[in-house]
Amino acid sequence: MFDFDGFLSETLNELKDFIKKHWKDYKKDIVNETEEVLNESKEDIQRWVGLVAKGELSRDELEFLLQSKKELIKLKGLEQAGLSLIKIERLRDAIVCLVVENALEKIQL
Protein backbone atom coordinates (compact mmCIF):
# COMPACT_ATOMS: atom_id res chain seq x y z
CA MET A 1 0.00 0.00 0.00
CA PHE A 2 1.25 3.48 -0.80
CA ASP A 3 2.45 5.17 2.40
CA PHE A 4 0.66 8.45 1.85
CA ASP A 5 1.32 9.80 5.35
CA GLY A 6 5.03 9.07 4.99
CA PHE A 7 5.08 10.65 1.56
CA LEU A 8 3.26 13.75 2.83
CA SER A 9 5.44 14.26 5.87
CA GLU A 10 8.72 13.71 3.96
CA THR A 11 7.64 16.03 1.16
CA LEU A 12 6.45 18.71 3.58
CA ASN A 13 9.72 18.61 5.51
CA GLU A 14 11.77 18.89 2.33
CA LEU A 15 9.52 21.72 1.12
CA LYS A 16 9.93 23.60 4.40
CA ASP A 17 13.73 23.43 4.14
CA PHE A 18 13.62 24.37 0.47
CA ILE A 19 11.35 27.41 0.99
CA LYS A 20 13.26 28.55 4.08
CA LYS A 21 16.52 28.56 2.11
CA HIS A 22 15.22 30.18 -1.09
CA TRP A 23 12.83 32.71 0.48
CA LYS A 24 15.72 34.05 2.57
CA ASP A 25 17.77 34.71 -0.59
CA TYR A 26 14.75 36.27 -2.24
CA LYS A 27 14.10 38.75 0.60
CA LYS A 28 17.78 39.69 0.66
CA ASP A 29 17.69 40.42 -3.11
CA ILE A 30 14.72 42.79 -2.80
CA VAL A 31 16.27 44.74 0.10
CA ASN A 32 19.63 45.03 -1.71
CA GLU A 33 18.05 46.13 -4.98
CA THR A 34 15.90 48.80 -3.27
CA GLU A 35 18.90 50.19 -1.36
CA GLU A 36 20.98 50.24 -4.53
CA VAL A 37 18.34 52.15 -6.52
CA LEU A 38 17.88 54.72 -3.75
CA ASN A 39 21.63 55.26 -3.31
CA GLU A 40 22.20 55.65 -7.05
CA SER A 41 19.30 58.12 -7.29
CA LYS A 42 20.72 60.19 -4.44
CA GLU A 43 24.16 60.36 -6.10
CA ASP A 44 22.66 61.34 -9.48
CA ILE A 45 20.41 64.04 -8.00
CA GLN A 46 23.29 65.53 -5.97
CA ARG A 47 25.45 65.63 -9.13
CA TRP A 48 22.65 67.30 -11.15
CA VAL A 49 22.07 69.95 -8.50
CA GLY A 50 25.83 70.64 -8.58
CA LEU A 51 25.73 70.99 -12.39
CA VAL A 52 22.83 73.47 -12.11
CA ALA A 53 24.85 75.48 -9.57
CA LYS A 54 27.79 75.57 -12.02
CA GLY A 55 25.47 76.63 -14.85
CA GLU A 56 26.10 73.44 -16.86
CA LEU A 57 22.48 72.32 -16.61
CA SER A 58 19.37 74.52 -16.73
CA ARG A 59 16.57 74.23 -14.18
CA ASP A 60 14.33 72.94 -16.95
CA GLU A 61 16.85 70.21 -17.79
CA LEU A 62 17.11 69.31 -14.09
CA GLU A 63 13.34 68.98 -13.95
CA PHE A 64 13.38 66.69 -17.01
CA LEU A 65 16.11 64.51 -15.45
CA LEU A 66 14.22 64.26 -12.15
CA GLN A 67 11.13 63.11 -14.06
CA SER A 68 13.25 60.61 -16.00
CA LYS A 69 14.62 59.27 -12.69
CA LYS A 70 11.04 58.69 -11.50
CA GLU A 71 10.25 56.79 -14.71
CA LEU A 72 13.47 54.79 -14.43
CA ILE A 73 12.59 53.75 -10.86
CA LYS A 74 9.15 52.64 -12.12
CA LEU A 75 10.78 50.69 -14.95
CA LYS A 76 13.13 48.97 -12.50
CA GLY A 77 10.17 48.21 -10.24
CA LEU A 78 8.53 46.40 -13.16
CA GLU A 79 11.79 44.48 -13.69
CA GLN A 80 11.84 43.44 -10.02
CA ALA A 81 8.18 42.39 -10.19
CA GLY A 82 9.02 40.24 -13.23
CA LEU A 83 12.09 38.74 -11.56
CA SER A 84 9.94 37.88 -8.53
CA LEU A 85 7.44 36.04 -10.76
CA ILE A 86 10.32 34.19 -12.42
CA LYS A 87 11.65 33.17 -8.99
CA ILE A 88 8.19 31.92 -8.00
CA GLU A 89 8.03 29.91 -11.25
CA ARG A 90 11.47 28.42 -10.54
CA LEU A 91 10.37 27.61 -6.99
CA ARG A 92 7.18 26.00 -8.32
CA ASP A 93 9.16 23.96 -10.88
CA ALA A 94 11.45 22.75 -8.12
CA ILE A 95 8.47 21.89 -5.88
CA VAL A 96 6.79 19.92 -8.68
CA CYS A 97 10.03 17.99 -9.30
CA LEU A 98 10.40 17.30 -5.60
CA VAL A 99 6.78 16.07 -5.28
CA VAL A 100 7.03 13.88 -8.41
CA GLU A 101 10.38 12.40 -7.31
CA ASN A 102 9.04 11.62 -3.83
CA ALA A 103 5.87 10.10 -5.29
CA LEU A 104 7.83 7.91 -7.70
CA GLU A 105 10.14 6.82 -4.90
CA LYS A 106 7.21 5.84 -2.70
CA ILE A 107 5.43 4.00 -5.52
CA GLN A 108 8.71 2.18 -6.31
CA LEU A 109 8.04 1.85 -10.01
Partner: protein
Protein backbone atom coordinates in the same frame (compact mmCIF):
# COMPACT_ATOMS: atom_id res chain seq x y z
CA UNK B 1 -0.09 -4.32 -14.97
CA UNK B 2 0.56 -3.04 -11.45
CA UNK B 3 3.41 -1.36 -9.59
CA UNK B 4 5.05 -3.07 -6.56
CA UNK B 5 2.66 -1.12 -4.33
CA UNK B 6 -0.42 -2.26 -6.22
CA UNK B 7 -1.10 0.88 -8.28
CA UNK B 8 -1.93 0.38 -11.93
CA UNK B 9 0.50 2.06 -14.31
CA UNK B 10 -2.39 3.91 -15.90
CA UNK B 11 -3.25 5.51 -12.53
CA UNK B 12 0.36 6.59 -12.04
CA UNK B 13 0.44 7.94 -15.59
CA UNK B 14 -2.78 9.94 -15.12
CA UNK B 15 -1.50 11.43 -11.85
CA UNK B 16 1.83 12.46 -13.42
CA UNK B 17 0.09 13.95 -16.49
CA UNK B 18 -2.23 15.87 -14.19
CA UNK B 19 0.70 17.27 -12.17
CA UNK B 20 2.63 18.26 -15.29
CA UNK B 21 -0.45 19.78 -16.95
CA UNK B 22 -1.23 21.83 -13.84
CA UNK B 23 2.39 22.89 -13.70
CA UNK B 24 2.70 24.04 -17.33
CA UNK B 25 -0.74 25.71 -17.66
CA UNK B 26 -0.29 28.21 -14.88
CA UNK B 27 2.50 30.39 -16.27
CA UNK B 28 2.90 33.61 -14.32
CA UNK B 29 5.08 35.41 -16.89
CA UNK B 30 5.91 34.94 -20.57
CA UNK B 31 8.85 32.66 -21.37
CA UNK B 32 12.15 34.00 -22.71
CA UNK B 33 11.88 35.37 -26.25
CA UNK B 34 15.08 35.49 -28.30
CA UNK B 35 13.73 38.10 -30.75
CA UNK B 36 12.65 40.45 -27.91
CA UNK B 37 16.05 40.09 -26.28
CA UNK B 38 18.05 40.76 -29.46
CA UNK B 39 15.85 43.69 -30.56
CA UNK B 40 16.10 45.31 -27.11
CA UNK B 41 19.91 45.25 -27.39
CA UNK B 42 19.84 46.59 -30.97
CA UNK B 43 17.37 49.39 -30.18
CA UNK B 44 19.42 50.35 -27.11
CA UNK B 45 22.60 50.74 -29.19
CA UNK B 46 20.76 52.52 -32.00
CA UNK B 47 19.11 54.95 -29.53
CA UNK B 48 22.26 55.82 -27.60
CA UNK B 49 24.22 56.36 -30.83
CA UNK B 50 21.50 58.65 -32.20
CA UNK B 51 21.26 60.67 -28.97
CA UNK B 52 25.01 61.37 -29.26
CA UNK B 53 24.05 63.51 -32.27
CA UNK B 54 21.50 65.61 -30.38
CA UNK B 55 23.95 68.52 -29.98
CA UNK B 56 23.45 68.98 -33.74
CA UNK B 57 20.28 70.33 -35.42
CA UNK B 58 17.31 67.96 -35.30
CA UNK B 59 16.52 68.46 -39.01
CA UNK B 60 19.74 66.67 -39.98
CA UNK B 61 18.63 63.53 -38.11
CA UNK B 62 14.84 63.82 -38.43
CA UNK B 63 14.64 60.79 -40.71
CA UNK B 64 16.62 58.61 -38.29
CA UNK B 65 14.52 59.78 -35.32
CA UNK B 66 11.30 58.98 -37.21
CA UNK B 67 12.78 55.57 -38.09
CA UNK B 68 13.56 54.92 -34.43
CA UNK B 69 9.98 55.84 -33.41
CA UNK B 70 8.74 53.31 -35.98
CA UNK B 71 11.08 50.63 -34.57
CA UNK B 72 9.73 51.38 -31.08
CA UNK B 73 6.13 51.08 -32.29
CA UNK B 74 6.89 47.76 -34.01
CA UNK B 75 8.58 46.48 -30.87
CA UNK B 76 5.62 47.50 -28.74
CA UNK B 77 3.21 45.69 -31.06
CA UNK B 78 5.43 42.61 -30.95
CA UNK B 79 5.69 42.42 -27.14
CA UNK B 80 1.96 43.15 -26.77
CA UNK B 81 1.25 40.02 -28.83
CA UNK B 82 2.99 37.74 -26.32
CA UNK B 83 0.65 36.38 -23.59
CA UNK B 84 1.54 37.11 -19.95
CA UNK B 85 3.98 39.78 -21.04
CA UNK B 86 2.33 42.79 -19.35
CA UNK B 87 5.39 43.82 -17.33
CA UNK B 88 7.65 43.95 -20.40
CA UNK B 89 4.94 45.81 -22.35
CA UNK B 90 4.72 48.43 -19.61
CA UNK B 91 8.52 48.81 -19.58
CA UNK B 92 8.54 49.48 -23.33
CA UNK B 93 5.60 51.90 -23.01
CA UNK B 94 7.50 53.96 -20.43
CA UNK B 95 10.67 53.92 -22.54
CA UNK B 96 8.96 54.90 -25.81
CA UNK B 97 6.33 57.37 -24.57
CA UNK B 98 6.86 60.66 -26.50
CA UNK B 99 5.14 62.53 -23.65
CA UNK B 100 7.39 60.85 -21.07
CA UNK B 101 10.97 61.48 -19.92
CA UNK B 102 13.02 58.55 -21.18
CA UNK B 103 13.84 57.78 -24.86
CA UNK B 104 10.53 58.95 -26.42
CA UNK B 105 10.51 62.15 -24.37
CA UNK B 106 14.16 62.87 -25.09
CA UNK B 107 13.66 62.53 -28.86
CA UNK B 108 10.62 64.83 -28.70
CA UNK B 109 12.62 67.38 -26.72
CA UNK B 110 15.33 67.32 -29.41
CA UNK B 111 12.63 67.83 -32.06
CA UNK B 112 11.05 70.76 -30.17
CA UNK B 113 14.27 72.50 -29.13
CA UNK B 114 16.36 71.86 -32.26
CA UNK B 115 19.56 71.01 -30.33
CA UNK B 116 20.35 69.80 -26.79
CA UNK B 117 23.33 70.47 -24.53
CA UNK B 118 26.14 67.90 -24.26
CA UNK B 119 26.00 67.66 -20.46
CA UNK B 120 22.24 67.17 -20.51
CA UNK B 121 22.49 64.48 -23.21
CA UNK B 122 25.15 62.60 -21.24
CA UNK B 123 23.04 62.55 -18.06
CA UNK B 124 19.85 61.59 -19.90
CA UNK B 125 21.66 58.88 -21.89
CA UNK B 126 22.80 57.25 -18.68
CA UNK B 127 19.16 57.06 -17.47
CA UNK B 128 17.97 55.68 -20.82
CA UNK B 129 20.80 53.14 -20.92
CA UNK B 130 19.87 51.89 -17.44
CA UNK B 131 16.25 51.64 -18.51
CA UNK B 132 17.19 49.49 -21.48
CA UNK B 133 19.40 47.33 -19.25
CA UNK B 134 16.38 46.75 -17.05
CA UNK B 135 14.25 45.63 -20.05
CA UNK B 136 17.08 43.41 -21.34
CA UNK B 137 17.72 41.86 -17.93
CA UNK B 138 14.06 40.95 -17.39
CA UNK B 139 13.94 39.27 -20.81
CA UNK B 140 17.23 37.42 -20.24
CA UNK B 141 16.05 36.04 -16.86
CA UNK B 142 12.75 34.66 -18.19
CA UNK B 143 12.51 30.88 -18.18
CA UNK B 144 13.34 29.15 -21.44
Amino acid sequence: MKTKRGFSYSTVYVVLVFILAFHSCGRLIAPYNQYSYERAIEIKQQSLALLEKATQPYEEYAEQVEGLFIDLKVMLEYVRGIPKNELTVEQWEIMANPDGYLLGGMLMRWKEQGTLSGVFIEEAQSQISEGFDSIINLEREKLK
